[in-house]
């Protein structure tokens, strides 16, 4: 019986590649998420706002996407969009920063991201300025405590899945034993 062993260098290479791929963040902020405000009027314009993830966690990245539309739903690309995250109880502004089309993947939208503040209730104000039009829309969100990934559970589940596949594909032997005659 000859045992098939995966070379350690291959394991390191594959593991390294996976680590690299999982650790990589997109170059630009990517949209998506849950719609918090849908086509709410601000003067002659309408604002749609997405929050990603829908339930932000303290310390983890929050992503906000804003679409500014004209009355006929065509996108407005030369407005100034500024957002402010205010603690719901104290009224203190925790985060204040612009959302721009330069930061976004979809250049029809204004996007920005930032780390979520500590746990609690917050109001997010989106201010729109274009020529002499000024206006604001607001939505509320609750920042949850950060849930750290339990790598031990992830590891056990992954090993379980790999073992199940190996058992199915390789028969009783997990090491994929095959007879020497197989090489002839």
């Amino acid at each position: 019986m000859k045992r098939f062993i995966v070379p350690w260098r291959v394991c390191v290479f594959v593991g390294g590649l996976l680590f690299l791929l999982l650790g990589i963040r997109p170059l630009h902020a990517h949209g998506g998420g849950e719609i918090k405000i849908a086509k709410e009027p601000v003067g002659p314009y309408k604002l749609t706002v997405w929050l990603n993830p829908p339930q932000p966690q303290a310390g983890k990245t929050m992503h906000i996407t804003v679409a500014v539309l004209a009355e006929d739903d065509s996108p407005i690309l030369d407005a100034a969009v500024f957002l402010e995250m205010v603690n719901h109880d104290t009224g203190q502004a925790i985060i204040a920063k612009p959302a721009t089309t330069e930061q976004s993947t979809n250049k029809l939208f204004y996007e920005t991201d930032f780390p979520a503040p500590e746990t609690g209730a917050y109001d997010i104000n989106i201010q729109l300025t274009k020529a002499d039009i000024n206006g604001q829309v607001t939505f509320s969100t609750e920042v949850q405590p950060a849930k750290n990934t339990n790598w031990l559970v992830v590891g056990f589940v992954s090993i379980g899945v790999v073992l199940a596949i190996a058992l199915f594909l390789g028969g009783r032997s997990v090491n994929l034993d095959i007879s020497e005659s197989g090489n002839q």
Binding site: P7, R9, L17, L27, T48, A67, T105, N106, L108, S181
Partner: protein
């Protein structure tokens, strides 16, 4: 240039993970193709019929072109404005799925990637991996037997159908648009089931299944059309928006949500089905060419009295 058009054309999602995978697999294939070409250049050139099992037939330029085109279409589907605007326009999303299920997989599989990717590796790695694969896929190995049982044409068709129907369910579709990881999972499952489907059609390596005759491959391809067509027709003729996510997002241009859905359904129905029909026509033409290249029967075989009485019956 119109600023909206300019914004659309500059909406590229430079995903480093996708770029790395495409660059690594493209480089490996090109290196492997180059090495194999060098090795086979000294082999004598054989006639088309003699050449059927020759390495000369494996290392041909059209395979390289097909593989690189397959990677190009994956890049187009996942990095270009087609991906970015898929969240606003349903028909852009359908074009993206078409590229991932019906365009990229056949181009990659027809290029028979396995031997080229192996030959693209450094010699030591190639030998080790090759010998490992040789053991894993040996005729007597359990792995091969189980893999073969798990990927029969019937099972592959079922998995492909479940992925196609499942991801067009409104809840699954809306979830894919709201959560990026679900969206990636959707694309990965479409691409992988597409690769499995076209594995049987193209007969690419590793060849662990029973040889499917050209007629069998044509039947397999034709079996994909009704399901594809049904989903496309259902979307094209639906009276109201099925995917509610699009009702809340800003529109681009004057296309309403329902018209967008109709265009998307039409794309899935007509161009989507056409891809399979084109493949059927290619296989049918190969089948007919094979008939043409057979030596003609001598006149006595078909013009004799006996043959005219009962054609096809030999003494």
């Amino acid at each position: 240039m119109d600023p909206v058009l300019k914004a659309i054309l500059s909406s590229w999602d430079w995903r480093v993970d996708v770029i790395i995978i495409l660059a690594v697999s493209g480089s490996l294939y090109m290196m492997g193709w180059g090495r194999l070409r060098k090795r086979t250049a000294s082999l004598p050139q054989l006639s088309h019929r003699q050449n059927r099992r020759s390495p000369n037939r494996l290392v041909v330029s059209w395979r390289l072109a097909a593989y690189l085109s397959g990677l190009f279409f994956i890049a187009l589907a996942l990095l270009s404005p087609i991906d970015v605007l898929g969240g606003q326009l349903f028909y852009f999303h359908m074009i993206q799925h078409l590229l991932l299920i019906m365009i990229a997989p056949p181009l990659l599989m027809v290029a028979n990637p396995m031997p080229f990717l192996l030959w693209g590796l450094p010699t030591r790695w190639r030998r080790r991996l090759g010998s490992g694969l040789g053991r894993l896929l040996h005729r007597k190995s359990t792995f091969r037997r189980r893999l073969r049982a798990a990927t029969t044409p019937g099972i592959v068709w079922m998995v492909w159908a479940v992925a196609l129907i499942g991801w067009h369910d409104p809840n699954a579709y809306n979830a894919a648009l709201s959560m990026e990881w679900v969206h990636d999972l959707e694309h990965l499952s479409f691409f992988l089931t597409g690769m499995l489907f076209w594995w049987h059609v193209t007969g690419a390596g590793p060849r662990i299944h029973k040889h499917i005759s050209p007629i069998g491959r044509i039947a397999f391809l034709l079996s994909a059309i009704p399901l594809n067509m049904m989903i496309g027709v259902a979307l094209a003729f639906a009276g109201e928006p099925i995917y509610t996510y699009y009702t809340a997002v800003p529109r681009i241009g004057s296309l309403s949500v329902i018209d967008d859905q109709r265009v998307g359904g039409f794309i899935m129905w007509v161009p989507g089905s056409m891809m399979y029909i084109i493949a059927v026509l290619i296989l049918a033409s190969q089948l007919l060419q094979g008939e043409e290249s057979k030596p003609a029967l001598p006149e006595s075989e078909w013009a004799g009295d006996e043959a005219l009485k009962a054609p096809g019956i030999r003494k």
